[in-house]
């Protein structure tokens, strides 16, 4: 079997994305093909070429640091999948903490 270019199962874990076995077997060859395709940039000489981070570079785009109205708490919580009082509700994160 040809060596894979990318370990899909491992990278999906890094991305916090649970994959089914079927998804892994479908994505693996597809992403191998895509990774091998983009490797063509390795043939370009980029010595002394600076990177381009944006379509148009702007430096220090700042505005005055003043307090202004923001979303109301109720509005911000309106789309929450679960809430408790004025907070978002999550499963327990810290072991031993009160839930």
């Amino acid at each position: 079997m040809e060596k894979t270019a990318i370990d899909v199962a491992y990278v999906a874990e890094l991305a916090r994305l649970e994959l089914t076995e079927e998804e892994k077997s479908v994505f693996q060859p597809q992403l191998d093909t895509i990774v091998r395709y983009v490797e063509k940039i390795s043939s370009v000489d980029v010595s002394d070429v600076p990177p381009t981070m944006h379509g148009r570079a702007i430096v220090n785009s700042l505005r005055e640091d003043v307090v202004r109205p923001s979303l109301d708490r109720e509005v911000a919580l309106a789309n929450a999948p679960a809430r408790t009082g004025d907070e978002f509700m999550l499963p327990k994160i810290v072991e031993g903490a009160e839930s």
Binding site: I6, V8, V11, A12, E13, L14, A15, R16, L17, E18, L19, T20, E23, V26, F27, Q30, L31, T33, I34, V35, Y37, V38, E39, K40, I41, S42, V44, V46, V49, P50, P51, T52, M53, H54, G55, R56, I58, S61, L62, R63, L71, V75, A76, A78, N79, A80, P81, A82, F88, L90, P91, K92, I93
Partner: protein, 486 residues
């Protein structure tokens, strides 16, 4: 007056100004059209009829000097009382904003995007939300998790994507105009497939505040319209500095409609990038592009061959940079503050992983994995770091040719609209954006303008005109002149 829904912005604004019809009548006409045609075309995901008619009434009142006065500033705007379809990743307060993804089903926007505030201030009616590829990832709108959109010119074919709902709504006369977004061709390619004008503004020309981010160094909102003039009128309202988006420079916005007056191709220098005229081009696309070139030449334009030597690298650069940025942007969809939360989670880590697994579709997952990979430890320099440097070479190619020509002319996509289900392989689908990606990476503005129809299949095909960054005025003027001679 019947068939008001067929009008573009310019004609509708003239009719409204003369009192030939009201915005309520215009909006009713669009609503009736959507009711009969949308079940076939699937352009819209939702349409708030009541909200649209209320906004139309307010626009009619404002025009007569009645009402609250809150819209008095819009009395001279050509957008006053005009219904505009909104791509479903742009936030409109109180409306759904799903990005055509299951992960955002049921989400209601808490605020207006800046482009929406601008449209509302100009009196436009933003009531209908149009379909797209999930999170704007795709070239056929087949990646929508929430509905199927077909091409209004042939319902067995795709409308293109990712702004396929916008293009189908404009091309099928289900709206007066629409907003799309373009990251690597998502306005221009569907515009070509559905016989509309689609303008991708220069990077930073239009605010992205309130627009769900896909690839932040590339995303732009732009007009999709029935004419070049309409694109100019709509861009006027969208463009400009927004302190909520740090990528919008404080550069003056020209009067785009005024720039169109007396548009002519006489003496205009148009470059033909030789790397865009490849063997794989569909013969009908080639014929229509060649005809467009001939028409420009006989209208007095000087056509010159130019070279963009790094074109061949652009696709590879894009499919590193865009997924990398997407993987970071889409990290916010974790089932915590909004969006889908998995019911199968017992700790916070599988809450993230399962909410995302259940909420995202396959193309979004592929891109998240690809993006995470090229940013991961040990691979960053070889992929992402290197891609950013090659991007510089691509940008320099454009800077060099725009020292010599006023615009570039090229195909929009290698083929006309393909059949639903015809393209299955992800990389083959990516190749649709071959001619639109390089100018996106360089930050230029570019427009797709209808050029004609294929023989036999009778499918619309656009041509692409690419302009120098922040010269939308000149690009629109050339596009307008082409529109008149085509």
């Amino acid at each position: 007056m019947s068939e008001l829904y067929r009008l573009g912005i310019e004609e509708a604004a003239a009719g409204l100004a003369k009192g030939d019809f009201s915005s309520v009548e215009l909006t009713r006409s669009v609503i009736d059209r959507v009711r009969t045609e949308n079940p076939k075309i699937g352009a819209y995901l939702t349409f708030d009829e009541e909200g649209a008619l209320a906004a139309a009434k307010a626009a009619d009142d404002a025009r007569k000097g009645l009402g609250s006065g809150s819209m008095d500033g819009a009395r001279r705007s050509p957008l006053l009382g005009i219904p505009v379809a909104i791509k479903d990743l742009i936030n409109v307060k109180g409306q759904p904003c799903t990005c055509a993804s299951k992960i955002l089903e049921g989400y209601v926007s808490p605020y207006d995007a800046t482009v929406i505030s601008n449209l509302k201030a100009a009196g436009a009616i933003c009531a209908g939300r149009v379909n797209m590829d999930e999170f704007a990832m795709g070239s056929s709108t087949e990646n929508s998790a929430l509905g199927r959109t077909v091409n209004p010119y042939d319902v067995t074919r795709v409308p293109g994507g990712s702004s396929g709902g916008s293009a189908a709504a404009v091309g099928g006369d289900l709206c007066i105009a629409a907003l799309g977004t373009d990251t690597g061709g998502s306005i221009r390619q569907p515009a070509s497939f559905c016989n509309c004008v689609g303008l991708k503004p220069s990077y930073g020309r239009v605010s992205r505040y309130g627009v769900t981010a896909f690839a932040s160094s590339l995303d732009q909102v732009g007009p999709m319209t029935k004419s070049v003039t309409d694109a100019a009128l709509l861009l006027q309202v969208l463009a400009g500095r927004d302190e909520m988006d740090g990528t919008t420079p404080d550069e003056p916005v020209p009067d785009y409609a005024a720039a169109l007056a007396g548009a002519s191709l006489k003496g205009v220098k148009i470059g033909l990038p030789k790397e865009y005229f490849i063997d794989g081009l569909d013969p009908e696309v080639k014929r229509l592009t060649d005809e467009a070139i001939a028409k420009c030449a006989s209208a007095g334009a000087e056509m010159v061959e130019v070279s963009l030597p790094h074109t061949e690298q652009a696709m590879a650069v894009y499919y590193i940079v865009a997924p990398a940025e997407a993987s970071a942007n889409l990290a916010r969809f974790d089932g915590v503050r909004y969006g889908h939360r998995s019911g199968r989670s017992d700790d916070v880590f599988n809450l993230y992983a399962r909410s995302r697994a259940e909420g995202f579709g396959p193309e979004v997952k592929r891109r998240i994995i690809m993006g995470t990979y090229v940013l991961s430890s040990g691979y960053y320099d070889a992929y992402y770091g290197r891609a950013l440097k090659v991007r510089t070479l691509i940008r320099r190619d454009f800077e060099t040719v725009f020292g010599m020509v006023d615009a570039l002319l090229a195909p929009v996509a290698p083929t006309p609209a393909f059949r639903l289900g015809e393209v299955q392989d992800p990389l083959t689908m990516y190749l649709n954006d071959l001619f639109t990606i390089p100018s996106s990476l360089a930050g230029n503005c570019a427009i797709s303008v209808p050029a004609g129809f294929t023989a036999g299949t009778n499918l619309p095909v656009g041509i692409q005109l690419i302009g120098d960054a922040y010269r939308e005025d000149r690009l629109l003027r050339i596009a307008k002149a082409f529109e008149e001679v085509r």
